[in-house]
């Protein structure tokens, strides 16, 4: 990930924004990350046509089969077909390959939803905190309090309040992320509010909401894209952790965390139930993190130094 000094010097003379986005598209880390994410999206959406069975179909005689076991399935019309369990089956006889493929849906959905919601809410609160000085102290003390609770604990406490399900898991992961976004946005607002173009807009009589949206918000775009990518990665991890601990999305739903939770009991004999979803999970989070690292290096060099 090193950049030749001479190259860097040449490229920084390019127009700042256009150059940064163009460079980001050529960055190896961005390319690999994006490619793996696209692959996972294809896997998730295409799960039904990728040679899978129903991910929740229970088959008691085919419990705990090792990867590669073949099963002969009798169809309704009397014909038979051979199905190979590439990743084995779990202790209820469900096909792990099918469950892992369908599991990509939940992970990506949670990751993207959490990133979008926490960025949206954090941006709104951060703009207000950074611009309206009288509200700033109150909002930021509240955010400090939220940040003092370790993220996973806060998420655990929140899921304990709601009924288990996709929405409550998303909310539980969003809340701990919001203060971090608020802090970032607020610090950007504070640094641009004294800029001449902002003062000029104030002098010209621009009203505060329009001022924030038109003149202040554009400065937050690049850092928020970077931050959003990292939030997405951590949300995918936290969702898997909650499911794994048995407090997340209900266990029938195929999610990577749930498949692993199911495989815990018989791990010594059948480690495939943990390793296959584990590899998919790690690969996805790694890809999102690589995308984030690459974007940060290109779009937001200042943040690269801070982290």
């Amino acid at each position: 990930m090193s950049v030749e000094p001479a190259l860097l010097a040449v490229e920084t003379t390019a127009p700042a924004d256009v150059g940064a986005f163009a460079r980001a598209r050529r960055d190896a880390s961005v390319l690999i990350g994006a490619a793996v994410i696209v692959l996972m999206i294809v896997i998730g959406l295409g799960a039904p046509v990728l040679g899978t069975m129903s991910p929740s179909e229970i088959s008691p005689p085919f419990r705990n089969k090792l990867p590669g076991t073949e099963q002969t399935i009798r169809r309704d019309d009397g014909s038979t077909a051979t199905y190979t369990h590439w990743m084995g089956t779990d202790s209820l006889g469900r096909d792990v390959y099918s469950r892992v493929l369908y599991g990509a849906r939940i992970s990506l959905l949670v990751g993207i939803a959490v990133a979008a919601i926490s960025i949206g809410v954090g941006l709104a609160i951060g703009l207000v905190a950074g611009y309206l000085r009288w509200l700033d102290g109150l909002i930021m003390r509240f955010m400090d309090g939220l940040m003092a609770i370790p993220a996973i604990l806060l998420a655990l406490a929140l899921v304990s309040l709601f009924h288990a399900g996709l929405t409550s898991v998303i909310v539980a992961i969003v809340v701990p992320e919001i203060p971090r976004v608020v802090r970032l946005v607020r610090s950007i607002v504070l640094s641009v509010r004294e800029e001449p173009y902002v003062e000029a807009a104030v002098m010209a009589g621009t009203r505060t909401p329009l001022l924030l949206v038109r003149h202040v918000m554009p400065n937050t775009v690049a850092p928020l894209i970077v931050q959003g990518t990292f939030i997405c990665a951590s949300a995918i991890l936290v969702e898997a952790i909650l499911s794994f601990l048995g407090v997340g999305i209900p266990p029938e739903t195929p999610t990577w965390g749930n498949i692993m939770a199911e495989g815990r009991g018989l791990f010594r004999v059948y480690p495939h139930n943990i390793f296959f979803p584990g590899i998919f999970l790690a690969l996805t989070v790694l890809a999102v993190n690589m995308l984030g690292d690459g974007l940060r290096d290109q779009l937001d060099p200042k943040l690269a130094k801070r982290v």
Partner: protein, 313 residues
Amino acid sequence: MVGYILRRIISTVPVMLIVAVLVFLMLRLTPGDPAAIIAGDNANAEQVALIRDRLGLDKPILTQFVIWSGNILHGDFGESFFFKKSVSELIASRLEPTLALSVSTIILAVLIAVPLGVLAAYRRGSPVDRIVMGFSVLGFSVPVFVIGYGLIYLFAIKLNWFPVQGYQRIADGIPGFLQRLVLPSLTLSVIYVALIARMTRTSVLDVMGEDYIRTARAKGQVERVVLFRHALRNAAVPIITVIGLGVALLIGGVVVTESVFTIPGLGRLTVDAVLARDYPTIQAVILLFSLVYVLINLGVDLVYRVFDPRIRY
């Protein structure tokens, strides 16, 4: 200086107060009678009435908060109806495994991460640097439980070097205690190593261009001494800060690691309490972990401000 220390200590009070308010509100935001929720499904009307009385649930909400926080300041977190014990006793009985795991993880992580980070900075752009940075991205991406099961599979099941799971108290013998601590600490240290190594690299790189490094080299100082005495010492503040901030990650990791290795600590207690919706215990654990987190960061802040003469107030 004393003024600064006092101000810094006092500044943690509002933070903890807000945490307390949030934790207090947790129960009030759930639909239903808080007393009935605390008592659980098996309680009779008499027990519910007793709790209602003790928490002052018929009084205004502000009074309720004062009663509740007053009890907590006296170390009284209420009764856990699920575990049939007072929450304070419950926490005391789960403290040792979590402390042992956290302390050994921090020591292990610092011992591995700091030299790795220094090495990566020193050999910037080399394969060594790339491996360390690659490991660091990987460490952030592979979930704690996957690492845990991977280590169990390799070292406990295949190689049979360590016990698969479980915990042994120090009082029952130090060798067994240490032997059972190796895999969980390694597991938990991965993400922490990733974090600290990355920060060490950045921060050492920052000071390597300084004049005093050139001076040290010019006078013929050995590179090892230049790196560890001159560079690392001056790069220490951000590294120590990130060790403190990383405690939040560590606490999250403790919850998962204790579940993977069936260690009867506070992390496992938290998960059990959430599964059983045992709110007094959940509240106590959150307050405790947050307090520890805030205090560690207060300590970090004070330590380097006291020992680094360059920082003025």
